[in-house]
Amino acid sequence: MLIEQFNPLEDKMIQVMDENGEIVNADLMPDLKSEEILELYKTMLKARTIDSAALSLQRQGRLLTYAPNLGQEAAQVGSGYALKKTDWAVSAFRELGMWLIKGWTIEKIFQYWYGSEWGSHFGEEIRLLPISVPISSQLSHAVGIAMAAKFRGESDAVIAYTGDGGTSQGEFHEALNFAAVYKTPNVFFIQNNQFAISIPSSKQTASKNLAVKALAYGMPGIKVDGNDVFAVLAVTRAALEYAIKEGPVLIEAYTFRMGAHTTSDDPSKYRTDEEVEPWKKRDPMLRLEKYLLQNDLLKEADIEHLKTSFQEEAMAAYQSIEHTSDTEIEEIFSHHYAEMTPQLEEQLADYLAFVERSQR
């Protein structure tokens, strides 16, 4: 219903809870128990805490490049929470909140950002694909996964993420078109955080919004307030349900990247504080906190307590991997094919011999 009724050409967006934590659209409020609402909140807070821990670790040189999530927690957690365990999630690279829900552990996440392939070895049973660096190239993988699920008659859906910048890639187009033709159970989730590194969305496309791009494929497109976790959850749930029954859906979650693109980036080069300011009021955490406090689901004191415990969890996770050794030489060679080629065997042997001799 929600999915079919929305007309992206009207350029509105779905909101359930406003900036003051008031439910402004009770019809769409997802049916959640108090514990579930608290779980949403905790996951968002956990994501934010890990994010800030990662940033400070990176500044200390204890992680390498890192892509921050500040301000996008509702989009990530709301969409991730909508997934059932057997649904698949296909990552871009800025979905920390969703990753936590799908079961990518903090240790492994840190291992990834600390520059180890082992970070992406997180258990085959976890239906999550690792970070995909080339923008939007992962979307067709999501289509293939969904084709497979559909052919086997399973009722699992696949959510795949990309950014506002990602909508300009040809691979975005091909994947969405494919999904629509085969009516696969795909949800394409755009975190429109207004920027692709330094390029604002307004220079990325001339379309009214990003949800409207769905019309090109004959699929529904919905724009949702990406800083409203209830709205994101409601829309993603509806979309997943629709996807399994009818075919793919495109969601645009309208949000804002409060921090830098990555730790190598300096946003002051391309945007002003005034541009960022209004988004502070729209903070997804603040809003949910207000709701929880107003509804007596949380006390101020709890917040600090939770923060501390997540911070400790994050640091413990980091410490558990900080002193893992660098990648073993053999590993560099042994994961290219089921069996190493003679070329790889020879190169490995040569290099090992060199290392051994030079250590003597």
Partner: protein, 324 residues
């Protein structure tokens, strides 16, 4: 049971056998379903297996390959067709960035049992970009295997191996000789090892390494030579290359000629020459030599006859090297 079939029929049979034996094998690409493929390599398969297991796609090479990545991750063995090798370029990002990397990226946790088939090579009087042989570009990509058969028997056995391979294989089919000759081929499924070259003809004086549609041309050239004993090696797998077979042969003959269709510079011939240098330097009695396509774009049909090494040019080159 065996039957006399040509290369394109061998492709079809391999697909037929594997789709029969393994229901996770699916085949898709442009025009492969209803029409049975522009070269008829998938003819009859949709009737036999239905349009869930072999189907047509939109005109999107990148999504064809990318969706195969997803299908492979989720339990299928996709065999996708790129209509001509010249149209693989839109899918290069998928091949370089994902197809070849998934196993390493996940430290072996996920791997991609998938095959990308494409007719390749020139000499069929075709339009632009219908005559390409850029196997060297793909052979340079770690994590990918590149296979090129030259006979119906090898085509079937190698394609079945490729489908059963737990890792991705780029399977390039020599379209110039798709229907050039027939060979007795077992009707049932069988495999041939990927990564093994074949000695087509033993000889003592000079080694000629070649592959794909150039194999019969080399054979023709050699058939005109009585006074030199030529060993012909059909490389069959470009990457990982079977260095052993080549090196052993050159250790015996002391001389080597590589013949391929692709442009000379930075082509696969260069790798073979280098391997021979590294492994058989002291056996060399003449400079390892390449006879290849020119460093030019494949000419349109009215210039095409000049491009491919002919049996005459091959024979002449063999004589030159032997006389060195």
């Amino acid at each position: 049971m065996s039957n006399k079939i040509n290369i394109v029929q061998a492709v079809q049979q391999a697909l037929y056998n594997e789709m029969t034996l393994d229901e996770t094998v699916v085949v898709y690409g442009q025009d492969v379903g209803v029409e049975g493929g522009v070269f008829r390599a998938t003819v009859g398969l949709q009737k036999a297996f239905g349009s869930e297991r072999i189907f047509d796609t939109p005109l999107s090479e990148s999504a064809i390959v990318g969706s195969a990545v997803g299908m492979a991750i989720n339990g299928f063995k996709p065999v996708v067709e790129i209509q001509f090798m010249g149209f693989i370029y839109p899918a290069v990002n998928q091949i370089v960035s994902h197809v070849s990397r998934y196993r390493n990226r996940t430290r072996g946790e996920r791997h991609l049992p998938m095959v990308i088939r494409a007719p390749y090579g020139g000499g069929i009087r075709a339009l632009e970009l219908h005559s390409e042989s850029t196997e060297a570009m793909f052979a340079h990509i770690p994590g990918l295997k590149v296979v090129i058969p030259s006979t119906p028997y090898d085509t079937k056995g190698l394609l079945i191996s490729a489908i059963r391979d737990p890792d991705p294989v780029l399977f390039l089919e020599p379209k110039r000789i798709y229907r050039a000759f027939r060979q007795k081929v077992p009707e049932d499924a069988y495999t041939l090892p990927i990564g093994k070259a074949k000695i087509v003809k033993e000889g003592e004086d000079i080694t000629v390494v070649t592959w794909g549609a150039m194999v019969p041309d080399v054979q023709k050239a050699v058939s005109t030579i009585d006074d030199i004993s030529v060993e012909i090696i059909d490389l069959r797998t470009i990457s990982p290359m079977d260095r052993e077979t080549i090196v052993e042969s050159v250790q015996k003959t002391g001389r080597i000629l590589v013949v391929h269709e692709a442009a000379k510079s930075f082509g696969a011939g260069a790798e073979i020459v280098s391997v021979v240098n590294e492994k058989a330097f002291l056996s060399l009695e003449a400079p390892p030599t390449r006879l290849t396509g020119f460093d030019t774009i494949f000419p349109l049909p009215r210039g095409e006859k000049h491009y491919l090494p002919t049996p005459e040019r091959i024979a002449k080159k063999i004589r030159e090297i032997a006389a060195y």
